[in-house]
Amino acid sequence: MQNTLRKSHIIADRTATVSRLEEVVATSDEFDQVVAQALPILLDRAAGYTKRFLRETGQWNDDIEHEKFALRWGSEYLERFLVCGRTEVPCRPLFLFDSLVAKQHSRPEPFCYHPDLLKPLGRFLDGLVARAVVSRDALIALYHHSYGWGAGDVIAVTGLNGLESQRIYKNFRRWRESGWQRTMDEIGLTKMELAELENQRQRHRQRFNSEAERLIRVAQGHYRKSEPDHYPCLSRSQWGEMFSQGYGCDYRIWHLALCLDCMQTAWGLGSSGSSAGEKPRLELQVRP
């Protein structure tokens, strides 16, 4: 009886919140206020839309991995809505939210979907690379997670100058302090799953790394599109000129972190050129 009452209360609250979202909000503050009260509804709504998109495109399976995937992307859309929606006032928040999600889903390949990327290793890699696109800390940390390098190695490999070097150390520090954990939370990897990944890495190193290389290529291929248009793959001579003349710091940092092949191509052109030995292979690190 109590349960029924509670449920009916929840339903009434949801209905009231939804109808409030359908009304016009006139100011940014009002928008913040209305939306803050409706976060669970909006998250479920966005996840529902993502689920429908996956079903309609034949990419859906009734399992927890797909549910988590839909929730993850729902939260991405919600985050963007929270920030950008307040500039759209006056508006009806619910309709604005629906249009934002629809716009995302109308794009070609709105997110990186691959069945293997829904498994713990795939989720880890996908989450890492996806985060690298929006976070410089994660981008720099990608060098560590891919090759096991520290800040000094990254500076040497990418041939950075003094000012940029300081930044790399800060990126590493912030990633260790909070970035890695936040990313793991966002992609929904539990402590057990992380421990299992670590275990696999130690016990079956070669198999683990070759599988990771296969999956990271899928993720990198998708997320590299978020780079500026003028950051394509280059030949060794082109990389060489860039390194020797000292331009394109951003180019080097962004592209080499997100492209295994170019890392092989440009290997040894940085300040570690003289001591460069064997070309780097993927040595996936789970912990920061």
């Binding site: 803050a36 976060l39 669970p40 998250l43 927890i64 549910e67 988590k68 929730l71 993850r72 939260s75 919600l78 985050e79 963007r80 929270l82 920030v83 950008c84 929606g85 500039t87 759209e88 934002l100 716009k103 985060r131 696109v133 929006v134 976070s135 410089r136 800390d137 994660a138 800060k170 990126n171 912030r174 990633w175 909070s178 970035g179 936040r182 939370d185 966002e186 929904g188 539990t190 599109k225 978020s226 780079e227 500026p228 248009d229 003028h230 030949s235 001579s237 082109q238 000129e241 331009y247 394109g248 962004w254």
Partner: protein, 425 residues
């Protein structure tokens, strides 16, 4: 069941992180702000305590602009209109980023300006700098010199102000008897002369006008500073575009260097090949002409030979004819007469052949008293038919006569019943 709990936990975790959203706290004071257009990273604003500008121009329409910290937190942004302007000020603690998007048919442009929070001293300094700048001639290209000048002058002015204040305080402390109570002040005013009051009023007016002038000067300096900032922004955007152009040019040069042989050989090989082909064509043409020439010379020689043979035959024939004439001259004359008659008859026969298909029409008038019977007999005798009659003239249609028309008409006119004859009515 465990999976459902796991999922619910994940959902709650996401909601929690969403509702926390400490958007500004994640950014260090000196950390650059990452700028994303249409979810692609386009650059960063490196604004610590100074203004920084990022200008982006592209052929694609701008849909969204996002500002993120180094650790990926979304600080703010805007959704751009399909066409036209949209601006938004994103507050980052005390600092501010001003976004301005302009979408046109040709593409979109973004201007992001980082405006640091002005401190009290910064504001005072800039105020004084404006005044100083008004008094001195300003050169826009000497930005550094301007900064040093401003700082030096501000410091001097502050020192003078502090010294003045201290001196004032000291004077007050040293001469307490000079402090006048408000009641005494009123008494003094009452006892003061009109001249003194007028002088005071004059001084007040001067002070007011000076205040007004200072206000105007401040306003004009503010405008000047705005212009200067705009110029700086344009300059930085130009620098960026120049830098990107340099990169593009370098890439282009590299591409060209990669395939130098292909590109350089192609134009030289092409004319050489073309020359060879032309030469071969010329040679073939010359060979053809030579062969033709040879054939023609052979034909000419053959013709000359044939001509010589014909000449010889002609001479032989002439000789035979001459012998024959000498033997029978009458037969020759008769033959010549026959020949001439034949030549005369040929055109008549020809003309008959040509006109045989068509009837011959002519008009006649008959002599007075000629009966219709006689006329009919005459027409029948001509093997013809009567045609139309007009003004006494009778049209007659016969087979083409064997003689020319004029001669034929002349012959008819000679007949008894015919008065006149002609071809046309």
């Amino acid at each position: 069941m465990g999976q459902e709990e796991d999922l619910e936990l994940y959902r709650l975790q996401l909601l929690e992180s969403m509702s926390e959203r400490p958007s500004h706290s994640g950014r260090g004071l000196l950390d650059p702000i990452q700028v994303y257009v249409n979810e692609r990273r386009v650059g960063e604003l490196r604004g610590a305590e100074i203004e920084a500008t990022l200008n982006i121009h592209g052929v694609d329409h701008i849909e969204t602009v996002q500002l993120r910290t180094e650790d990926g937190r979304l600080l703010g942004g805007l959704v751009a209109p399909e066409s036209g302007f949209r601006t938004n000020r994103v507050g980052l603690s005390a600092d501010m980023v001003e976004l301005c998007v302009h979408n046109t048919v040709q593409g979109g442009s973004l201007s992001a300006v980082f405006i640091p929070a002005p401190s009290f001293w910064t504001r005072t300094r800039s105020l004084l700098a404006d005044i100083v700048d008004r008094w001195r001639s300003r050169r826009p290209d000497a930005v550094m010199a301007y900064g040093f000048r401003t700082v030096a002058f501000t410091q001097a002015l502050l020192a003078i102000a502090v010294v003045g204040l201290v001196a004032d305080r000291v004077m007050i402390w040293m001469a307490p008897e000079h402090i006048i109570a408000p009641t005494v002040q009123a008494e003094v005013l009452r006892t003061a002369s009109i001249g003194e009051i007028e002088q005071l009023a004059k001084q007040l007016r001067e002070l007011r006008s000076m205040q007004t002038k200072v206000g105007e000067a401040l306003q004009s300096q503010e405008k000047g500073m705005t212009l200067l900032h705009q110029t700086m922004a344009r300059l930085s955007s130009t620098q960026e575009s120049v830098a990107s152009s340099v990169v593009m040019v370098k890439e282009e040069m590299e591409k060209r260097q990669e395939s130098p042989e292909r590109e350089t050989d192609r134009p030289t090989q092409f004319p050489a090949g073309k020359g060879l082909v032309d030469q071969e064509q010329f040679e073939v043409a010359i060979h053809g002409l030579a062969a033709d020439n040879e054939r023609l010379s052979k034909q000419i020689a053959g013709l000359e030979e044939h001509n010589r043979m014909l000449t010889a035959k002609l001479q032989t024939a002439i000789a035979h004819v001459a012998k024959a004439v000498e033997q029978n001259p009458e037969r020759v004359v008769a033959r010549e007469a026959d020949l001439s008659r034949k030549h005369q008859l040929v055109p008549v026969a020809d003309s008959r052949q040509s006109t045989q298909g068509q009837p011959f029409l002519f008009w006649v008038t008959f002599s007075e008293g000629t009966t219709q019977e006689s006329i009919d007999q005459w027409v029948n005798g001509m093997k013809g038919h009567k045609g139309a009659q007009n003004e006494g003239w009778q049209e007659v249609q016969i087979l083409p006569p064997p003689v020319p028309p004029d001669l034929f008409l002349e012959q008819i006119r000679g007949e008894k019943i015919i008065k006149e004859a002609r071809l046309n009515h």
